[in-house]
């Protein structure tokens, strides 16, 4: 009875934890909508190739909401496939969803850059382009105490000593890095000499800029906004073609004499191998969503620019962008390989040191005998637990989580001296079933 109480307690505490999650899931679940939807799709899956919370995830979730509001498709789900700046999700779309006319992948400039930067084996050209949806422009800013008051002065310093101008921004190969490279190139300096300092997102670059650690910062406007408004940062150029509405004080980079324009666009793509009808249905779905009043309100609320572009024009834009970004990323990448000025310590220095010292310490650990080996440890129960672990890995994809988890539970219980395997199996089964239900319905994480 005791162990079932334990299982019950666990399930109860977990159920309590899950409560808001599950109510949220219910709210988001498709209402029994009429299947006679506008474009003839009973369900759509929006793949956000990032963890929940980022820009792509946000776009996917806003699209889901708008599609359900307008009842454009029977149901819309968001699936997160995070990893490697979205390229894991792209690879999934290309290999596992071929010919699937009910899947859209959210992507954008960052993914295009990452594919080129990481030398990824998959490419955006392998997917079916549907439409560009939203965009955000980039801002170049300097700390208030900086001697630079416009792009010209910054570029003059750059021409004098390219390594002396450090650029702080987001991940390498991302939009911020690309813009810095474009500006350096437009200044007539070899972009290989861009002294770009990549920070991980979420304000690290802003902190470095505020602290005067880097010469200039590059980022989407929203990240700099509070500091530009409070006067601690000075925006000296925006990457749009014309001054932005509401931000007319900030001059464009173009008007200061440097032909650099960049938009951090986000778009949707479909799987490869679609026929014309499948493609048309998805294009219609996205167009209707993007034309709705609700969508416009969403864009205003989130401060995104509407940059809807579809069909042949979107394909032409993608081709241009691929060439332009490919050229600059190729040259920036050359720098990382060990150019004269950039990254004095290469990417293998630290791992080399770590590997060498680990080997030394491991050898030391293996060669020394402990003075007082612990007494009384037994190997049999450990082997039983290990057998349970192996069984779980082997079984989980074949027989599913519930079976594999029950086997694991029973193995561990026997290792700890339980001899009532039938009762253990029942308790394990109940526990695993509870975990399965909780993860699948409470968290939206499907266990096999």
């Amino acid at each position: 009875m005791r162990s079932s109480r334990r299982a019950g307690l666990l399930a109860l505490s977990m159920a309590l934890l899950m409560r808001p999650a599950s109510t949220q899931a219910q709210a988001a679940a498709p209402r029994p909508a009429p299947v006679t939807d506008a474009v003839g799709l009973t369900s759509v899956t929006l793949i956000a190739p990032a963890a929940p919370g980022g820009g792509w995830d946000q776009l996917a979730r806003e699209m889901q909401r708008e599609m359900e509001r307008q009842q454009l498709a029977g149901s819309a789900q968001v699936e997160n496939i995070p990893g490697a700046a979205g390229t894991i999700g792209l690879a999934h779309l290309i290999s596992a969803r071929r010919g699937d006319g009910r899947t859209l992948l959210v992507n954008g400039l960052v993914m295009l850059g990452a594919v080129l930067w990481n030398g990824s084996p998959v490419s955006l050209t392998q997917a079916t382009p549907i439409a560009r949806l939203v965009g955000e422009h980039e801002v170049v800013a300097v700390p208030a105490a900086s001697p630079h008051h416009d792009m010209r002065s910054l570029v003059a310093a750059l021409r004098e000593n390219p390594a002396g101008v450090s650029w702080g921004g987001g991940s390498a190969g991302g939009t911020d890095h690309i813009l810095a490279g474009l500006i350096v190139a437009a200044a007539g300096v070899d972009p290989r000499r861009t002294n770009y300092i990549a920070f991980s997102g979420g304000g690290e670059a802003v902190t470095a800029l505020l602290g005067g650690q880097v010469t200039a910062g590059v980022s989407g406007y929203s990240e700099f906004a509070p500091h530009i408004e409070s006067g601690r940062l000075r925006a000296i150029g925006v990457s749009s073609a014309r001054r932005l509405p509401g931000l007319a004080r900030i001059p464009t980079i173009v008007e200061q004499g440097f032909d650099v324009e960049l938009e951090n666009w986000r778009a949707v793509m479909a799987a490869p191998g679609l026929d014309a009808a499948q493609r048309r249905r998805l294009a219609t779905l996205v167009e209707r969503m993007a034309r709705g009043d609700g969508w416009r309100a969403t864009l205003t609320r989130l401060g995104w620019t509407d940059s809807y572009l579809a069909g042949a024009e979107f394909e032409a834009f993608l081709d241009d962008e691929r060439v332009r970004i490919g050229r600059i990323v190729g040259r920036l990448r050359g720098a990382a390989g060990g150019g004269a000025t950039a990254t004095p310590a290469g990417e293998w220095v630290f791992p080399g040191l770590v590997l060498a010292s680990s080997t030394l310490l491991l050898a030391f650990q293996l060669l020394t005998r402990r003075q007082t080996p612990e007494r009384g440890r037994r190997r049999g129960p450990v082997v039983r637990v290990a057998a349970g672990l192996v069984a779980f890995v082997v079984l989980v994809n074949v027989a599913g989580f519930v079976v594999a988890g029950t086997a694991l539970f029973a193995a561990v219980a026997s290792a700890f001296g339980s001899r009532r395997w039938r009762r253990d199996a029942v308790v394990g089964l109940a526990l695993c079933a509870a975990v399965f239900v909780m993860f699948t319905y409470g968290l939206g994480v499907r266990l096999p």
Binding site: R6, L10, L17, M18, P20, A21, P52, P82, A84, I88, A91, W117, N118, A163, G173, N195, I197, S200, G203, E204, G211, P226, A336, A342, T343, P344, A345, F350, V354, S358, L361, Q365, E374, G376, R377, R378, R379, P381, V382, R384, V385, L389, F392, V393, V396, L408, F409, V412, A413, A415, F416, S418, D424, L431, C432, V435, F436, G442, L443, G444
Partner: protein, 497 residues
């Protein structure tokens, strides 16, 4: 004044019924987990990470903080009644506390632990409230060079000071650093140590490492020696402390708080050292030092106060600098990053509701914990009667489901078990686990900050080392590294004669 109004705003957030609810869940769960031997707050937060995707960050962190504090309270119950510390910071209270319990004064030991935890926790939270904004102001002047030096200091502190030998500490640290290197190098896009496996491109998730080392390793280790486990001593004796016990406790509480908070706030390895130190101080100052080793109440009151104060202290560098100094803080940092938040000076500006709500909820949580732990201590003691087979079976099953859910891949489950195997071997050799976790989290940060600092300094290492703050921090690290040797050299000289 600013701090007070910010704190008031924080209370407005923390006292919302929904947040009180999450705080209650957190402290309840935390106490339960602290009581159960073998699973600590780091593991619990790691397991709950995937479960909180759907939750807003504020309630999630209020719950996590409750688990953190609750674990500190609950750990003492197990130490006193079972002589098996629920987590490493309770080792010292196990010594005197268990002797008190055997002598029939378990009730008083539990009471002084709980009240001391409350007093010290509240004082330390107040110190956190005051010092965090100061630290934030300082932190704005920190550049990559300073962050690198801080990380080095944390590495040395956690490896050299914890555990029985520095070689063991560094072995553990390097295991963590090695795991941290795996994946695409963020500065160049070059995959490192991935062996061509696409699943490793994004690196090894810290949740996998923590759950592997703590949960899987612990279950394997417990399996090898469960036949040696003792039984719980019933909590006898009144919960009410006598006048004499009060008189002997209160100074120990205050001293424990004074030792715990600053040592917790330094990047020096968390709660273990302050509890050891507090125990030593109490023993030296006690009126009846001969009672130590036979159940002296000061030996419970001081270390218990110190460990709660240290728990609050570790939140200072975590929130103000983004620098974790304990395994639990490292997992909390991962939790922040899951929400796209970067702890550091800007967090206080961008997310005041979250930060101050979190700090205010620590006061609330402390008060809840006092109520939960004093009158309800009997309920927690019952948790100790859960049969081990079901407990460990449940832990592994949940750990496996949690690891799978991070990336929905069986590969991660295999990795979890492999790391668990390493954790088992480390436990067998008494190699501390915390340096490995710190290494996984801070290793990539240290490397990138160093390379950034070098790029900013146009490749000159001298320019980095001559920055005054950087130089001071690195010098401190060197001193810590050689402190035991220096001390030995000092003592080797015959003082008498």
């Amino acid at each position: 004044m600013d701090t007070l109004s910010a704190l008031a705003g924080g209370f407005a957030v923390a006292l919302l019924p929904v947040h009180l609810f999450w705080a209650l869940i957190g402290v309840t769960l935390g106490t339960a987990i602290g009581v159960l031997p073998g699973i600590g707050p780091a593991l619990t937060v790691a397991l709950l990470l995937p479960a909180t995707y759907a939750l807003d960050p504020t309630p999630a962190f209020i719950m996590f903080a409750g688990i953190y504090y609750g674990g500190m309270y609950g750990g003492s119950t197990t130490s006193i009644l079972l002589n098996t510390p629920g987590e490493s910071a309770s080792i010292m209270s196990a010594v005197e506390g268990h002797l008190m319990a055997r002598a029939g004064r378990g009730g008083a030991a539990l009471a002084t632990a709980a009240i001391g935890s409350f007093v010290a926790g509240t004082l330390a939270t107040a110190a956190l409230t005051v010092s965090a904004p100061v630290m934030v102001a300082l932190a704005l002047g920190f550049g990559p060079a300073e962050y690198f030096a801080l990380a080095v200091l944390a590495f040395v502190a956690v490896s050299a000071v914890l555990g029985e030998s520095r070689v063991d500490g560094f072995t553990s640290l390097l295991f963590g650093l090695l795991l941290g290197v795996i994946g695409i190098d963020p500065l160049t896009g070059v995959p490192r140590l991935t062996f061509g496996l696409p699943q490793l491109l994004d690196g090894v998730d810290v949740v996998i490492v923590a759950v592997g080392l703590f949960a899987v390793g612990e279950v394997l280790y417990a399996a090898s020696r469960h036949h040696l486990d003792g039984a719980a001593v019933p909590a006898r004796g009144s919960l009410w402390m006598t006048r004499e016990e009060w008189a002997r406790s209160w100074k120990a509480w205050l001293r424990g708080a004074a030792i715990g908070f600053p040592l917790g706030a330094l990047p020096a390895g968390g709660a273990e050292i302050p509890t050891f130190l507090s125990y030593a101080v109490e023993r030296r100052l006690a009126r009846h030092p001969e009672q130590f080793g036979h159940g002296a109440i000061e030996g419970v009151a001081g270390p218990e106060a110190a460990n709660n104060a240290a728990a609050a202290g570790t939140l200072v560098p975590l929130l103000a600098l983004g620098l974790p100094t304990t395994a639990t803080a490292a997992i909390l940092l991962a939790a922040f990053q899951q929400y796209g938040l970067q702890p550091g000076p800007l967090l206080f500006q961008h997310e005041p509701r979250l930060v101050w709500g979190l700090i205010a909820s620590l006061y609330v949580g402390n008060a809840m914990l006092l109520v939960l732990n004093l009158p309800l201590v009997g309920v927690w003691v019952k948790l100790l009667s859960i049969p081990r087979p079901a407990l460990y079976g449940g832990i592994l099953t949940l750990a496996s489901a949690g690891a799978y859910s991070v990336n929905r891949s069986v590969f991660d489950v295999g990795l979890l078990y492999a790391i668990g195997g390493v954790g088992y071997l480390m436990r067998g050799r008494r190699i501390p686990l915390a340096p490995a976790i710190i290494g996984v989290i801070l290793g990539p940060m240290a490397e990138q900050q160093l390379r950034r600092a070098l790029a900013i300094a146009e490749g000159s290492a001298v320019a980095i080392v001559t920055r005054p703050l950087t130089a001071a921090l690195l010098a401190l690290a060197v001193v810590l590294l050689f402190a035991p040797a220096l001390q030995r050299a000092w003592q080797a000289r015959p003082p008498e004669r």
